[in-house]
Structures are given as structure tokens and as C-alpha cells.
């Protein structure tokens, strides 16, 4: 299994010559069933993965350029959505889940969350003018205190997406055991297991095709929002040491990646502001990672199918919010994608939050880019923490605080 088949340099050479053989993580499943791992590993140079879904923990850094007179922005709003300004003078970070300042939130439950940070990012990428309102306290070197102007992505010095946590390696399936409808980030969940929400591209999902992070690492070049991005770091809550199946697939949320990419090269076709009823705003995006077939083992992991990927079913009316850790059972992505699953003898219709058709489109687009010589592969500069790294996701242990030192609300 361990014999080297090809190097990054050799693959890139083939890309330049237009001789590279690329298949998607979906296509490779049948190919391996037909021909076996050994043969396909010799024939295929690259397998492309893809996912498209709501990815919280996303946002964008913007540098708007200096004003005259200069201003050190202290508080900023983009189309009425607060952007974080505590960085420097004119650097802002717009987070995907920040709702508009005047949003009624969940005061009338379930709230609509019609416009938020994700929508601002979508409008910027679409080339629309965005209203900036900014305030400052004024300093000797930055005297200006107020700024109201239209901005446009083409005029910004920098605009780049920096998402601290994307592309979750597997995730929960959410059901509702209570007697009333609940509104979660995995969708509207009808009472008494009326439906089941889930969100993973399964066999197409990047980290499920490289379960031990053997090839995807820091510096890997990726498809991000229709443009080019890179894996910047392990994502927040990266949790490699979870229970895995025989072929190494985590049986629940595990690895994550932080990604970065130039917003100016992205497209609104791949970045969508979303409103999750009763929960909040966010950003849905397309992300795809090419996997170089360096050896047979890499190909073996890429050939995983939806039947072999299991997700835990969790009650989001109680077990999830109160963190009891109770799991109602496991279902495969093949069952989830069939439209219904069976839990405790009950047939439950499934409600996917991520788009399988668009995940497929990401993988096919990346495949085309590589075949046309527009996208070459990069070798990671450092690895993501693996199973043996000791990195573990921890919950917060709260410690008592004396009333006299409390400075918040």
C-alpha cells in the first residue's frame, strides 16, 4: 500500500501538459468498485472533493483605505450590520452570523433574521455598493469622528475571506423528540421526530476523503467560493481523536479547517447570505479540495461511499442544548440521502441543510480547472493535528467569579 506512485511535481507537470487524469470523489466510488484500488490508483492522478452548505464561523477582512482627514474607526456598520473594528484604523472584519443592528432577533419567535453579515459578504462579492457608517473618538493623528459613504469591493485595498472553521468532517443528524416545533441551525425540526436535519456532503466532503489528514494540510490550495483559497490552519474545534469506523471515518463531528481566500476572485454563485429561522444569519458557501493520489492508501481513503459514512442522531430539543451526549443511533449518508431514515422503528423524512447538487458542482468545477491547466496543486507546509496529536475539543469549565470583579452586563 505504501509505495509512492507520484509526487506533487509530477502531477503539476501533467497538469501543465494537459495529461492529468482527474475524477471526483463521487465518480471514484464506482470506478474502484469496478477496477479495484490498485488499478485506479495507478490511473488517476487527482480526486476532487466538494461541499456546499451553511458554514458558520466565516467572515471577511476588509481594508477600506484611509480617509482625509484620517480616522481610526472604533465602530462600523456595513448595510446596518456591525463589523468588528478593533484591529487598526481602517481594517474591518465582517462576521457571517452578525445580524443587522435593528433586527428584532428572536423577540418574535421564531425570528426571521432577514439580513446579516453573510448577506453583506454576498452583496460585496456581487459588486453591489455597500453602505458604510463608521464612528471614532478621534486622536491627534486620526482626528475624524464620523464617516458615511458607499463602498464597493473593487475599491477596497484588500477583501479576503477568512473562515476560522469550515468543512466539518462529518456532523450530527438532528431530530426533535419534544411536542413542539423547534428552530435550529440544522433547520426547522417538527415535533415527535417529524423530520431529521443533517448537513454534510458525505462521500464528496473534503475531510471525509482524507480522514487522517494525510494530504490536506496547512497551505493546501483549494476551491473557495468560486475562487482560489488556501487551508490556513486547523479549524476551531478541530477534534481528530473521536471514535472512528474501521476505515477511519469519524462517527461524528471531528476535523475542521480554517481557510483563507481573495474575496475579489469569488462569485455570488458560490457565496450566499442565509437566514435560518429562529436561529440567525449565516453564509452558505462552496468549498472543494483536490486530493493528489500519492499512493494507493490515499486513493483507498478517497473511495469511501455514503454507505460507509455514519452520522449520530441527536435530539436537538434536549440532548444537544443541554449537552447530555446521548445518541439515539447511527445512520449512513446513503440512508439520509434516500430521503428517509428509520429511527427506533419510525420512518423519518430527511431535511438536508447542505446542497448535494452544488457539492457535486464544486467537485466537477475543480476537476475542470485542473484538466484545463488553470489550477495546480500545492504541497502542505505543515500537517493538521492528527489522531495522535493530543488535540482534543474541550468544553468550557466555568469558574466562580466574585461580584466585585464583574465588568460586563
Amino acid at each position: 500500500m505504501g509505495t509512492k506512485l507520484r509526487t506533487y511535481e509530477e502531477i503539476n507537470e501533467k497538469i501543465k501538459k494537459g495529461q492529468v487524469v482527474v475524477v471526483t470523489a463521487e465518480e471514484v466510488v464506482d470506478l474502484v468498485r469496478e477496477k479495484g484500488v490498485e488499478r485506479v490508483a495507478r490511473e488517476v492522478d487527482v480526486v476532487t472533493t466538494g461541499t456546499f452548505g451553511i458554514m458558520c464561523s466565516s467572515g471577511a477582512f476588509l481594508n477600506i483605505g484611509h480617509t482625509k482627514p484620517r480616522m481610526k474607526i472604533h465602530e462600523a456598520y456595513l448595510n446596518g450590520v456591525m463589523a468588528y473594528a478593533g484591529l487598526a484604523a481602517v481594517d474591518l472584519y465582517i462576521g457571517a452570523t452578525q445580524p443587522a443592528k435593528d433586527d428584532p432577533l428572536n423577540k418574535v419567535h421564531p425570528g426571521e433574521f432577514r439580513y446579516g453579515g453573510g448577506h453583506v459578504i454576498q452583496d460585496l462579492v456581487a459588486g453591489k455598493d455597500v453602505l458604510l457608517e463608521a464612528y471614532a473618538y478621534g486622536t491627534d493623528c486620526y482626528p475624524r469622528k464620523k464617516l458615511v459613504t458607499w463602498i464597493n469591493i473593487r475599491d477596497l485595498n484588500e477583501a479576503y475571506l477568512f473562515n476560522p472553521r469550515n468543512a466539518y468532517q462529518n456532523y450530527n443528524v438532528a431530530v426533535n423528540l419534544s411536542d413542539k416545533t423547534i428552530y435550529t441551525y440544522l433547520g426547522v425540526l417538527l415535533p415527535r421526530m417529524g423530520n431529521a436535519g443533517y448537513s454534510s456532503a458525505g462521500q464528496l466532503s473534503p475531510l471525509l476523503n482524507d480522514p487522517y489528514y494525510r494530504v490536506i494540510g496547512i497551505g493546501t490550495k483549494i476551491f473557495l467560493g468560486g475562487g482560489i483559497g488556501y487551508v490556513a490552519w486547523q479549524g476551531t474545534q478541530h477534534n481528530p481523536a473521536v471514535e472512528r469506523t474501521e476505515r477511519g471515518i469519524p462517527k461524528g463531528g471531528a476535523g475542521t479547517i480554517a481557510v483563507i481566500g481573495d474575496l475579489k476572485g469569488m462569485s455570488p454563485h458560490w457565496l450566499w447570505g442565509v437566514s435560518i429561522r429562529g436561529y440567525g444569519c449565516s453564509l452558505a458557501l462552496g468549498l472543494g479540495i483536490p486530493i493528489p493520489i500519492l499512493d494507493e492508501e490515499t486513493l483507498y481513503y478517497c473511495s469511501v461511499s455514503d454507505e460507509e459514512i455514519l452520522a449520530p442522531v441527536v435530539d436537538y430539543s434536549h440532548a444537544y442544548p443541554y449537552g447530555t451526549g446521548e445518541i439515539l443511533g447511527y445512520v449512513s449518508y446513503a440512508e439520509l440521502r434516500s430521503g428517509k431514515i428509520t429511527i427506533g422503528g419510525k420512518e423519518v423524512p430527511t431535511s438536508p441543510m447542505s446542497s448535494y447538487s452544488k457539492a457535486r458542482e464544486v467537485a466537477l468545477t475543480l476537476k475542470k480547472w485542473i484538466q484545463e491547466g488553470k489550477f495546480t496543486l500545492t504541497q502542505p507546509v505543515a500537517q493538521l493535528p492528527g489522531v495522535e496529536s493530543g488535540v482534543r475539543f474541550k468544553n468550557l469549565v466555568e469558574r466562580p467569579v466574585e461580584a466585585s470583579v464583574i465588568i460586563g452586563r
Binding site: G194, W272, S275, I276, K340, P349, S351, S357, K358
Partner: protein, 139 residues
Amino acid sequence: MMNNNGSKKVVLRFPQEVADRPIVCELALRFGLRFNILRASISPHREGIMVMELIGNRDKQEEGLEFLREKGVFVEPLSQDIRMVEERCYHCGTCVGLCPTGALSMERPSFLVRYDPAKCIACELCVLACPTHAMEALL
């Protein structure tokens, strides 16, 4: 004498316990009403759903509907039309698992979501759940 006749569209939901009993025909026998069944289906939750146009005396219509309510049927007016704004849909399918009638369905193997207005009973669950506001209720 004033003509008090007219028609009214209603959505009837039959919980599993009442779904098998022939109570709808009582509307004709007991209350002299005519009716057209516009759509009927069994939801994934084993609940029967029927969209019906009631024709006849308005007072009798109310009595007939009250009779159904007493038998355990949920009666709601059919008030709105639902439309899908296709360019806003990214085909996640969260609405498909909620739709009680199959008006929204996932086409395979394309995994594109399709909307068939003829099966819609305007329950608005999709309007509530769609993250991109692709499903709209028209007043």
C-alpha cells in the same frame, strides 16, 4: 329570500385515528353540501390531508365544518398561493423533509429540488424554513 349560497376552500387534516373513517361524505348527507376534492394525500407523518372546495349554504358550511372539527379533523382556510423563486434556490432540500404533501421533492440522481404547485396546500412550512427566501407566500 337572500341567497346565502357560496363556495369556500379549506384544508382538512385527518390525524391517523380519524383518517380511515368516511366522515367527509356526511357533509353531503347531513348538511346538503356539495364538495370538490382539490388535492388529497397522506403525509409522511401518516396524517391525511385534503384540500376541498365546499359549495352550498354558508350557514350549512359552517355547521359542516364544525361537525368535522368535533370528529377530530383540523380545519384551516386555504388562504395563500406559494411560489418558488428558482434563482434563489440552491437545492439544499431542507424544505423537502418538511413538505407534508410531496409538492416539494428531490429529483434523483440530479439532487435538484422540484416544486409542483398542484400538490401544495399552502401550509407555509417551506416559507418558514427556506434559508434563502426562495419559497414565497403570495397574498
